[in-house]
Symmetry: C2
Subunit: 352 residues, 2 copies
């Protein structure tokens, strides 16, 4: 239990670090903790937008409020949006009981939210103009025993690695689910190698970052892949990339259109579209006995639960867990091995 | 696709019946439809409460608004709460292409929501005083090909069967998940019959209706069961009923308390507590490689997804699907075979 950082919670007592109003961010580590020397914060987009709008894009005022939040709460946890972000730094000290696979000197990105990461800033954010989500910073951060951290690969620009880490749960969980479907539903046909019996995976939002990695993961796990995208530009890009066996256009919020675009219902449907209202289309596009994986934070729990019941749909519905052991390495490996995914990521980063 | 009732949608065109503002409730059935002669509506508790408060518990005004909603929308879909309810009636006509396992004369309960059920009322609700969720009614309702309907058992009072049907998804899905865990994680130990290797199931809210059925289902599937309840009265009742191997008291919204109450993390944790904020406790109480099944409509999708990530918890998180084939019969069978569950249900119904 100590592994989840309870000793860092100052108030209210007894809650988990994410729920806490204030954490103890002191740099001395406990036996299961790890200290990071901070180099850069990446603020969550929603958090930065709120701060920028509140302060009319005045960089000094934005910087002052970030410093005040971190000083008051011991973490960069925006009290209005409830969101945080992530950080990059160098491992400074690892407690003797920490299970994290890092050592002093490793350059890492933290893959748990800043909303639960004890953080101390020591340079007054002097190197930041307050006008971007990317915040150069000096200070220290603490990782608990139960945490997630990715060592930044030597062969990839940090921006690219971070963009991959940001969505790395989706391809890893898709891989696990597709391989599970082979075992449960199609062992005989997999062995027979008959294409018509292959597990089919439909990805809503297949042209995005999580969507393209998910398509690549599904194919590598042996699935036949169908992508649903929102317009002709995305379709053409995805067809050119060759990441999916089929690509169709539909508004993911329109259940009838999604089901028609997918055609023969999929064994596994993965929702990578970050807009509300995609639940019923995903359910309707999935075969009985199949699985829907929701990876959009805009997913409504009641809409999914009541939607499946209303459609008498015998589908397994998964809340996309952002953590699967080895997910960061898995996604980076996919990016290295599938040039089309890397090209797509690089284009997205250049456009941002 | 016709099986989901698209032909009944009047406006807006092209959406699913639940999302529609207005349905065509005419009594002539299509080839895959079934017509029910309505005897009673059970309004959703939240819907009735909203109507009663709006009209200061004036029965005539409440009745008038229900009639207006059904007349306007072609379904009893409360536009404020978004909820419906269910109905009881007798099967009148079954289309030649309907896959539903019913025949004319069967007394049935509809297990899909009234929010998507075409409904016509012909008696002006003359037999209802407007002062209860139970609405005697004459009229007709339509079930689509893809629908869920339960024939009312001869040996149980209708109130008891309805209370069971209302929560029957939870025990059926728990049964499926527990048996899956045997196969994947413990086949050898199950065969060896070693108690310490049995799948453990923790049920948050174990003393309630869905919770008690879930405990009974988990035990019948071979699991060792732990119940977490909110106070001593519930604990004493559950201990007396003998439905769980262990019973502990904790506030399900307090993650640390829940984890301590469960002790050794469970292989499967089922959330049957209908209050917000139970996600992190359920995740923390579950072993790595385990499964959390969320059956509460108060579940927050982002809280579950971000919570698992923040805790670096490798758990499978399921959105509790209210539909599993055969779920109604499964739950009624459990009630018949486990007298303690039946006694608990009867006590709850008497108290309502």
């Amino acid at each position: 239990m100590s592994m989840v950082g309870l000793r860092r919670v100052v108030e209210p007592a007894g809650v988990l670090p994410q729920a806490a109003w204030r954490l103890d961010a002191s740099p001395e580590i406990g036996p299961d903790e790890t200290r990071i020397r901070v180099q850069r914060l990446n603020l969550d987009a929603a958090s930065y937008r709120q701060l920028a709008e509140k302060h009319a894009h005045n960089g000094d005022a934005i910087r002052a409020e970030v410093l005040e939040i971190v000083g008051t709460r011991g973490k960069m946890h925006n009290p209005v949006t409830g969101s945080g972000g992530m950080l990059i730094g160098v491992v400074e000290e690892v407690g003797p009981e920490s299970p994290l696979p890092v050592k002093p000197g490793d350059r890492v990105a933290t893959l748990v939210s800043l909303t639960l990461t004890p953080l101390r800033i020591t340079d007054g954010l002097a190197g930041w103009d307050g006008l971007s989500e990317q915040v150069p910073a000096e200070g220290t951060a603490i990782l608990f025993g139960r945490s997630i951290v990715g060592v930044l690969p030597d062969d990839l620009p940090p921006e690219l690695a971070l963009a991959v880490y940001d969505v790395c749960g989706a391809p890893a969980l898709t891989d696990r689910v597709v391989r599970g479907h082979h075992k449960w539903h199609g062992q005989a046909s997999v062995e027979a190698g008959t294409a018509t019996d292959r597990v089919t995976v439909a990805v809503l939002g297949g042209a995005g970052k999580s969507g393209s990695l998910t398509l690549a993961a599904a194919r590598r796990a042996g699935a036949r892949t169908k992508a649903v995208v929102v317009n002709e530009a995305e379709r053409d890009a995805l067809v050119a990339a060759g990441l999916a066996d089929e690509v169709a256009i539909a508004d993911a919020r329109n259940p009838v259109a999604v089901a028609e675009a997918v055609g023969e219902p999929a064994d596994v449907t993965v929702v990578c579209v970050d807009v509300p209202g995609c639940e019923h289309g995903a359910i309707l596009a999935t075969a009985n006995g199949g699985t829907v994986i929701f990876f959009s934070m805009a997913t409504s729990f009641p809409a999914a639960a009541l939607g499946a019941e209303g459609l008498a749909a015998d589908v397994t519905m998964l809340i996309g867990n952002g953590y699967v052991p080895g997910h960061a390495e898995f996604a980076v490996d996919l990016l290295r091995q599938v040039p089309a995914v890397r090209a797509l990521f690089e284009a997205r980063i250049a456009a941002d």
